[in-house]
């Protein structure tokens, strides 16, 4: 290569090299941009991988689901009560303390008129100077549910099964038995999917009688701890076995409040009339009928829940012939008679939040053994209750509110009650009056505390075994905690 050629080559190289330096700078810039783009892309891919579902995530969810299914199945098999049909289980219990102003030495043996009202007074059979006691008034468990649900028209078939446990009278040691109280199926032959149409249900089995107010009010709703005297004395509070139709018509439905009111509610049925868990003791089926009339009002009317009801029970009963002190039949007396057993009821109900008033009159007519024949005995009862609520738990809108915690609208309900029972109106001065003043405190959904002060005045006519026409007076305080689940 000549010298001139070499110089030319170097010059060309220099010329070539000059723009290459610019390109390198540009390229470097581009590389930087590309590197940034690559980094951004990688960041984005990582971000997407973080946010998007990938195979591992699906597998994780599947594993969690399988674990949950296994745990659920296992718990259902080993730890959960199961049934063929859906069942609602409820129950309740009442624990209480009572004290009276008169010591009790044994059942009715204090010579001053027997036991104070309410306390498990005849349990145990022998007591020594007792004037206060703790006791469990009763407990129950109830099963109810649907046997068939008609989604289209609501002609449903349901059932109800209830057991009540109560301390046994006179038990020397602490016995109690779980008695079958409710055992029935209920069918609705009329549609129930609309609130503004007539209703009818047919109940077959052991059930409460649709007689009056008090006998149909459960312990959970009754303001007073103890039932009115007539409930036990006339037997309208006991369960009966039979077939009862319950229905209403003349419906006023206030859509503004979801308030349903019927002009006429009716109940009609045939029952054994021989009490719970027993077959009939005669061929006659007792008749129960009740009608109540309510004014067709809207919810916001002051006449809302003003109701007048009449009840009638017509039955026959087997009466053992009268015996002498030795237990032998009186001369001319039959071993058994079949006599009348009738009950008449009239009641007035007004419950307009926050106050309410109820009055109930009941007359009992019974044939009883007397000498060599039977005679008619008539009893009367008057029961009146007045109550007022401070708080709003009796309003559905206030009970059903959205809340995280165990919210309940706490309510105080003071009340007064007058309760008179006269077992035989032919005998003057032969009745028992109970005046009760009390307070109910509703502080949780299914729990209430109750305090009752009772003043009981028993009058017995002259000539009775323990005559006192002025009246034996017993004062009692009962504090009860009633809770359900």
């Amino acid at each position: 290569m000549s010298r001139s050629t070499s110089i030319l080559s170097l010059a060309l190289l220099a010329i070539a090299a000059a723009p290459a330096a610019d390109d390198i700078a540009t390229l470097e810039q581009r590389i930087q941009v590309l590197e940034k783009s690559q980094k951004d892309l990688l960041d984005r891919i990582r971000s997407l991988l973080d946010s998007q579902v990938v195979q591992e995530d699906v597998q994780g969810v599947t594993n969690s689901l399988e674990s949950f299914k296994y745990q659920y199945q296992r718990d259902r098999e080993t730890k959960s009560p199961v049934s063929v049909r859906g069942i609602t289980i409820t129950g309740g219990l009442a624990a209480r303390y009572a004290a009276t102003n008169r010591s009790k030495t044994s059942a009715g043996a204090d010579g001053k008129g027997g036991n104070a009202n309410g306390t498990a007074s005849a349990n145990p059979a022998i007591v020594n100077g007792r004037n206060n006691t703790f006791d469990v008034a009763g407990a129950f468990v109830n099963f109810s549910g649907s046997l068939y649900r008609d989604y289209a028209e609501g002609r449903n078939l349901t059932f109800n099964l209830r057991f009540d446990g109560t301390p046994q009278t006179g038990a020397a040691i602490g016995n109690s038995f779980a008695n079958l109280t409710n055992a029935n199926v209920v069918y609705s032959p009329l549609p129930t999917t609309s609130q503004d149409i007539d209703r009818l249900t047919i109940t077959l089995g052991q059930q409460t009688l649709p007689f009056g107010l008090e006998a149909n009010t459960t312990e959970e709703l009754r303001p007073v701890i103890n039932s009115a005297q007539f409930v036990g004395a006339t037997g309208v509070g006991r369960r009966e076995i039979g077939l009862v139709f319950r229905g209403d018509f003349g419906i006023t439905y206030d859509y503004g409040y979801n308030y349903r009111s019927s002009l006429i509610s009716y109940n009609f049925g045939l029952v054994n009339g021989n009490g719970p868990n027993r077959a009939d003791d005669n061929d006659y089926k007792d008749i129960i009928a009740r009608v109540d009339v309510k004014l067709p009002t809207e919810y916001n009317s002051w006449l809302r829940e003003l109701r007048l009801g009449v009840s009638y029970y017509h039955g026959r009963q087997v009466i053992a012939g009268a015996t002498n002190a030795a237990g032998a039949l009186l001369p001319g007396a039959s071993t058994y008679y079949e006599g009348a057993r009738k009950r008449y009821g009239l009641d007035l109900y007004y419950n307009h939040f926050p106050f309410g008033f109820t009055y109930e009159f009941v007359r009992s007519v019974d044939d009883v053994a007397a000498g060599s024949s039977t005679t008619e005995r008539r009893g009367n009862s008057h029961t009146a209750t007045l109550f007022y609520s401070f708080g709003s738990q009796f309003l559905a809108s206030q009970r059903n509110v959205g809340a995280f915690d165990d919210y309940w609208p706490k309510t105080w309900q003071p009340f007064v009650r007058f309760d008179r029972w006269d077992p035989d109106i032919k005998i003057s001065g032969n009745h028992t009056d109970i005046y009760t003043v009390g307070l109910n405190a509703f502080f949780a959904e299914t729990t209430k505390a109750q305090l009752n002060l009772t003043h009981k005045r028993e009058k017995l006519p002259s000539g009775a075994a323990r005559p006192n026409t002025a009246g034996f007076i017993t004062n009692e305080i009962i504090a009860q905690l009633q809770y359900g689940f």
């Binding site: 289209a152 609309s194 503004g256 409040y257 979801n258 009317s301 959205g402």
Partner: protein
């Protein structure tokens, strides 16, 4: 004697707790609760105010307590609470509030809220029905007496149909959803909650009011009791100020996701809530105006409620609206032209029944970005 009177007055004050220039508490109701009873709802502007504790903040200085009552029993439960004197202010749908007024509840409508809400018709996912008419003679459920009743009746009427063309069954929304899932009914009317069934793949929406005549949609309002408004007008004004400010914030498209997130605290997924707003401007649905469309809907509802025998006596609607608080709040916040008043037919004067984007008649958005 005077001492006795003073003592008695003091006892009354202690018991009532509402004497003086401001109340001890303001009791506010919702005609709904969240999923599973949780204490949050998706009920419009008041739900946002609730979630953000804006009234608590507003009345913090006076130590006025805000009691929220979220009624699972919907409108009827609110009426019961109003009748019992247990609420001062509430939100409620048009029909339940009309029913309440017909029974003598003394309230004033001070603000519109959640206007133009839709009603939908769902069928089981495998149903052959493609449109409303395909369900003639079939079992179709809805909850008679609820807010949807009027909308359904008007929609059916607009198609030349009525309840009599179907085997109409009265079921509440929960029972209807179960029945639809179990194929015990062929169709169910309901609110946006039906989208939950759609999402789960058990139902399809085949008809509804969305995109149709706005006069078939449902309206809601904020009501104050007359006794509270009379006793505490300045307190009511401050409440309305907060509500209007929040409605303005809620109407801003920039806050759309935050609005649905707040409503989703009710337990209903935000995408289900958003589904109901598809094609709608939040600004239109959040309008607090007591405009001609809103008031005529109430007048129409009163007439139809009587015709459908949902009420016994005619309801006088005109004296019910009290726009004074709203007007003052709009003026104070320079929002007098922010929401466009709609004509009785639901249109905004441009021939469109529902604008899809801000137009010249929908002026630029003044005000702040925060409620």
């Amino acid at each position: 004697m005077n001492r006795l009177a003073i003592l008695f007055a003091l006892v009354l004050v202690a018991v009532d707790g509402q004497a003086g220039d401001h109340p001890a508490a303001i009791r506010i109701g919702f005609a709904s609760a969240g999923l599973g009873g949780r204490p949050f709802t998706s009920s419009g502007v008041l739900a946002i105010v609730h979630v953000k504790s804006l009234l608590e903040e507003e009345f913090k200085a006076e130590n006025i307590r805000i009691d929220w009552h979220l009624h699972k029993g919907a409108g009827p439960a609110v009426n019961e609470a109003l009748a019992g004197g247990l609420l001062d202010l509430t939100t409620q749908g048009d029909l339940p509030s009309l029913l309440g007024r017909s029974s003598g509840i003394k309230t004033r409508i001070i603000l519109a809220t959640s206007v133009r809400a839709n009603t939908y018709l769902a069928v089981p996912v495998d149903s052959p029905a493609k449109r409303l008419e395909d369900l003639k003679g079939k079992r179709v459920a809805y909850h008679r007496g609820t807010n949807a009743t009027l909308g359904i009746a008007k929609l059916l009427h607009s198609r030349g149909l009525s309840d009599a063309d179907f085997r109409t069954i009265n079921l509440d929304s929960t029972a209807a959803q179960v029945a639809l899932t179990n194929h015990d009914i062929e169709g169910a009317w309901g609110s946006l909650l039906l989208f939950d069934l759609v999402k789960r793949g058990v139902a399809r929406i085949i008809d509804g009011t969305r995109g149709g005549d706005p006069r078939n949609t449902l309206q809601s309002s904020i009501l104050v009791t007359e006794s509270f408004a009379t006793a505490y007008p300045s307190i009511v004004q401050r409440i309305v100020d907060v509500l209007v400010r929040t409605a303005r914030w809620q109407s801003d498209p920039a806050n759309r996701s935050e609005v649905f997130a707040a409503w989703a605290k009710s337990g209903y997924a935000a995408d289900i809530l958003e589904e109901d707003y598809q094609g709608d401007l939040l600004r239109v649905r959040s309008s607090p105006l007591l405009d001609e469309f809103f008031t005529s809907q109430y007048r129409d509802g009163a007439r139809l409620a009587l015709a459908f025998k949902l009420i016994r006596n005619p309801v006088e609607v005109d004296g019910w609206f009290d726009p004074r608080y709203l007007s003052a709040a709009l003026k104070k916040q320079n929002l007098e032209e922010y929401w466009l008043p709609a004509a009785a037919d639901g249109s905004f004067g441009t021939g469109s029944t529902q604008p899809t984007a801000p137009t010249a008649t929908q002026p630029a958005q003044p005000g702040t970005d925060k409620p």
